[in-house]
């Protein structure tokens, strides 16, 4: 029976697939997502598996796709998700895909290489242009203005011709070098050429683009004058060493001008070619961007199918693949259908065979969840996945979790804020899911939107009961308290006490706390008593319910021994001690009233005679008798002393019952088994029947597999039982006290709320004058922000945490094993989602 209460029944199935049909069948099963395959070749290396070549090809395709995606992202082209279901393609389609990707990749690489070469060319031409411009300056500076405007000016003028007697021909080289390298370059030149070369340099103002890295770098133009060939070689070598690019620069100004013009035209041509190359690249990428998401999905699906096929075994005849999978029993029909579809698609004639296997292994735990229950199941799974087919705490958690949260958070205003936020998330579910946000905190809040919705609704309810709206009370029905004193008397006193004997009408406020308590100074004293008692009552009920769920588990797994030896003493212990405490609380609430003090005969039912429940309980456990105080009876009803003693004795007797009964029964059982096996030669059917009867319904007892090696040694059984008993007994006391956090947190929340109002909002409200409105406008903003930040967010998270702890520890340690493992079926959806998340990271 598929339900949230217990995990699904799972079956281990063996699947025989014909090799031709295997791919299609696995593809259908992947779309269905209901089978968890086991690895039948755990010892085989990844590189020795059958389909390793196909997986390698898929990896290669993925690599090409990633390269394409990177280029697409670099250009900032958006990639659309078509949103349709992309099916895993046939194996023969893989070759087409490979060819397409290969072509695209080659084209793109070619385009990129060409672009790089063009850019290099462009860079050279630009540098040459700068050189020609700057060297003009150098040559102009050399020209003496007093000389004639003859353009044929030698660099050194007449002196150069006269000095050596022969014409000194100065050679020069011109080039471009990175600006950072110039000082070292100069120094090197000076030293290497012994100061016989002359360097002039000028900076290039615009940064140039480096073709390989794409960075913008600053360069300078330099020109070096030297005499003779040896210096020339030396200079050239140094330039090479400093990676300066040398350019041929003509000597005469006319040639330089012609060259400059030529360079400009070539630069313009190159620009055109470059822009056309970029356009082409852009077009190729845009065309690819339309399909890239679909290609990714296809390739990932193919890879997943081949990974799964690698888990299968090849049978003896080499024609057939064998697979083992866990399948929910209720879905066997769906699996059969999927397999039939797969065989039809692949055109194979042999139908696949699916048969169930009996196994002693523990199956995985599988819950059928919808978007509402998934959040709550995640909360429980975070502590531990339910053991196979044990009772699932989730359906109860759906109500108890928001309720316990609300007891700690109770404020109508804050609850309303939480509710509205969750409502917005739930109403806008679909567009918010489609956004695929990567913000982790947002994803956590969004994943828990139904939890927050319920928490908000329940908080609004408890806010009504505590009568607390942003720390103010609502007077919906009119207070039942009234003041009898005259105005004069009230004005004379600082505080006025309203006695419930005289200041209270005969009716009670219909829903929640009377609003008068908000203006009372002893509000906390009153509420404390109420909230503490309510916390204990809720706690005891929650824990007793946990023990009952344990009983359902025992009944389901037919562990009668556990029912007698664990459940019954546990429930008796808890009921006789802690449920009795709750009954005392209710009795005190009902039987004692303030009005009774008005009648002297009813003095024992008056408020000031009511005995303290806590003291009564402590005296009960310590077997102390209570003394009469003044006129008041220490006991609440007749025979209480004797009855309480009886309860405590029985409760204490439960402890050795829990400790010893089960080990003793197991011991007896094993003795019987030993005796039975000792007479195994003459073993009659009746003896076996007897032993079988004792062993029936007793899965907790050791399976008699042999004489001496049993599942658990007797010592272990005793130790486990001891631990269990101590845990339960001490846990009863400490867990009951632990539920007092319901009181503590609700008190803290109420006080924080009050402090925020009185410290912040009151500043805006206590202004006398018309500018108070403006001050209030500003103060309200601050108050609202603090309310959201401190009271809703921080207190909300705190109460959430405490509620979670109460569930995980106090409730679940009464029955929950949590030792299972999750059912992780082979499902394309989850695999694609995981791949997408990994991609983003």
């Amino acid at each position: 029976m598929g339900s949230l209460f217990r995990s699904e029944e799972m079956a281990l199935c063996q699947l025989f697939l014909q090799s031709e049909a295997a791919y299609a069948c696995v593809s259908e099963l992947g779309e269905l997502g209901l089978a968890q395959f086991r690895d039948l070749n755990p010892d085989v290396n990844a590189f020795q598996r059958k389909f390793v070549n196909e997986v390698r090809r898929c990896d290669e395709m993925e690599r090409k796709l990633r390269y394409l995606e990177k280029e697409i992202k670099k250009d900032g082209i958006p990639t659309m998700d078509s949103g349709e279901l992309v099916e895993a393609p046939q194996p023969r389609e893989m070759i087409d895909l490979e060819a397409t990707f290969e072509k695209l990749e080659n084209e793109l690489r070619e385009v990129n290489q060409n672009a790089e070469a063009l850019k290099r060319n462009f860079l050279e031409l630009t540098e040459l242009k700068h050189i020609l411009k700057k060297t003009q300056v150098f040559f102009d500076e050399m020209a003496d203005p007093s000389r004639d405007q003859d353009e044929q000016v030698n660099l050194l003028g007449e002196e150069g011709l006269r000095a050596g007697g022969q014409s000194l021909k100065l050679g020069f080289v011109a080039g471009v070098i990175l600006r950072e390298r110039i000082p070292a370059f100069e120094r090197m030149l000076w030293r290497a050429c012994r100061g016989n070369v002359f360097l002039r340099q000028a900076e290039i103002d615009n940064p140039l683009e480096d073709p390989t890295s794409g960075d913008q770098v600053y360069k300078s133009v330099f020109i070096i004058f030297f005499q003779g060939d040896q210096l020339k070689t030396r200079v050239k070598k140094i330039c090479e060493g400093f990676r300066a690019t040398l350019y041929p620069c003509p000597e005469t100004p006319n040639d330089r001008r012609e060259m400059a013009i030529g360079v400009m035209t070539r630069i313009e041509d190159l620009n055109t070619v470059l822009s056309q190359t970029q356009d082409h690249r852009h077009r190729v990428l845009v065309a690819a961007a339309k399909n890239i998401k679909m290609w990714f999905t296809k390739v990932r699906k193919i890879k997943a199918i081949y990974h799964t096929l690698n888990l299968f075994n090849l049978d003896v005849t080499q024609k057939c693949l064998i697979a083992e999978c866990w399948v929910p029993v209720l879905d066997l029909e769906a699996i059969h259908l999927a397999l039939r579809r797969g065989t039809e698609r692949s055109g194979s004639s042999v139908p696949p065979i699916l048969n169930r296997m009996e196994t002693k292994e523990i199956p995985p735990t599988y819950f059928r969840l919808n978007k509402f229950t998934k959040g709550f199941q995640n909360l429980i799974d975070a502590y531990g996945v339910a053991a196979y087919r044990e009772a699932n705490p989730t359906p109860f958690t759906i109500i108890t979790f928001p309720f316990l949260f609300a007891v700690m958070f109770g404020d109508l205003g804050h609850g309303a804020l939480m509710f509205l936020f969750a409502l917005w998330m739930v109403m806008n579910e679909k567009p918010l899911i489609a956004k695929k946000s990567t913000n982790e905190i947002w994803n956590i809040f969004f994943g828990g939107r139904y939890i927050i919705l319920l928490m908000g609704v329940f908080s609004m309810y408890t806010g009504l009961i505590y009568n607390d709206v942003f720390s103010k009370s609502l007077n919906l029905f009119g207070s039942e308290w009234f003041v009898k004193d005259s105005n004069q008397a009230i004005f004379r006193r600082k505080t006025t006490m309203l006695d419930p004997k005289t200041g209270l009408t005969d009716y009670t406020y219909p829903l929640g706390m009377d609003p008068v308590w908000q203006v009372a100074e002893n509000k906390i004293n009153f509420l404390n008593a109420y909230k503490m008692k309510v916390s204990i009552i809720i706690g005891v009920i929650h824990m007793m319910f946990g023990v009952m769920v344990g009983l359902w588990n025992h009944q389901f797994f037919r562990r009668r021994v556990n029912v007698i030896c664990e459940f019954i003493p546990q429930i008796i212990f808890m009921t006789f001690l802690f449920f009795y405490l709750c009954i005392l609380i209710f009795h005190k609430w009902v039987n004692y009233s303030a009005k009774a003090d008005l009648d002297p005969a009813l003095i024992n039912e008056g408020a000031h005679c009511a005995p303290s429940v806590l003291i009564t309980f402590i005296n009960m456990v310590l077997f102390k008798s209570s003394e009469k105080v003044g006129e008041c009876e220490p006991y609440m009803y007749g025979g209480q002393e004797g009855f309480q003693k009886f309860l405590v004795v029985i409760g204490l007797l439960c402890v050795p019952w829990m400790l010893c009964a089960k080990p003793y029964l197991i011991y007896k059982q094993r003795q019987l088994q030993h005796n039975k096996f000792d007479n195994v030669n003459g073993g009659s059917v009746m003896e076996e029947g007897g032993a079988a009867q004792l062993g029936a319904g007793d899965a907790a007892a050791a399976v008699p597999s042999g004489g001496h090696d049993e599942e658990e040694s007797f010592q272990d059984v005793c130790i486990h039982q001891g631990i269990h008993t101590i845990e339960y007994v001490l846990g009863c006391v400490s867990n009951t006290a632990s539920y007092l956090r319901l009181w503590a947190l609700s008190l803290a929340h109420a006080q924080l709320s009050e402090v925020l109002w009185s410290m912040v909002m009151r500043i805006g409200l206590a202004q006398s004058g018309w500018y108070g409105g403006i001050v209030l406008w500003a103060i309200f903003g601050a108050w609202a922000t603090l309310t959201l930040g401190i009271l809703v967010l921080m207190e909300g998270l705190s109460a959430f945490l405490h509620t979670l702890r109460l569930h995980w520890v106090e409730f679940q340690n009464k029955f929950y094993a949590g030792t299972g493992y999750s059912f992780l079926p082979f499902c394309f959806e989850s695999m694609l989602e995981a791949a997408q998340n990994a991609e983003v990271d």
Binding site: Q767, S768, G773, I774, W777, F780, G781, A784
Partner: protein, 102 residues
């Protein structure tokens, strides 16, 4: 024209809606002289038990209630203004991010 980014304008928008609703309601509660808000009134520190002071007290309380009611309504109106400004900012921010898609 954009004074604040998309997030700030959205925050101010939601805050002003909350402010309008809550301050209007608080104004109503002050106007009907609800006892729950008595500690938020701007009153004198001490009133002596003389006839005069007692009369003053009742007068002061009535005045304080009305004053606070009007203050709350003024603040609510200011928040209506804030709402309009943030709504305009919000729409402007939205238009600039999604307007040029075709």
């Amino acid at each position: 024209m954009a004074l604040c980014g998309p997030k700030l304008s959205l925050c101010c928008l939601l805050l002003s809606i909350w402010g309008v609703i809550q301050l209007a309601l608080m104004g109503v509660f002050f106007y009907i002289k609800s006892v729950a808000l008595v500690e938020d009134l701007p009153l004198e520190e001490e009133y002596k038990p003389t006839e005069e002071d007692m009369k003053n007290f009742y007068g002061d309380v009535d005045r304080a209630y009305s004053q606070n009611a009007f203050n709350c309504w003024i603040a609510a109106c200011l928040y209506v203004g804030t709402f309009l400004i943030s709504a305009q900012q919000f729409y402007m921010n939205n238009k600039s991010t999604s307007g040029t898609a075709f």
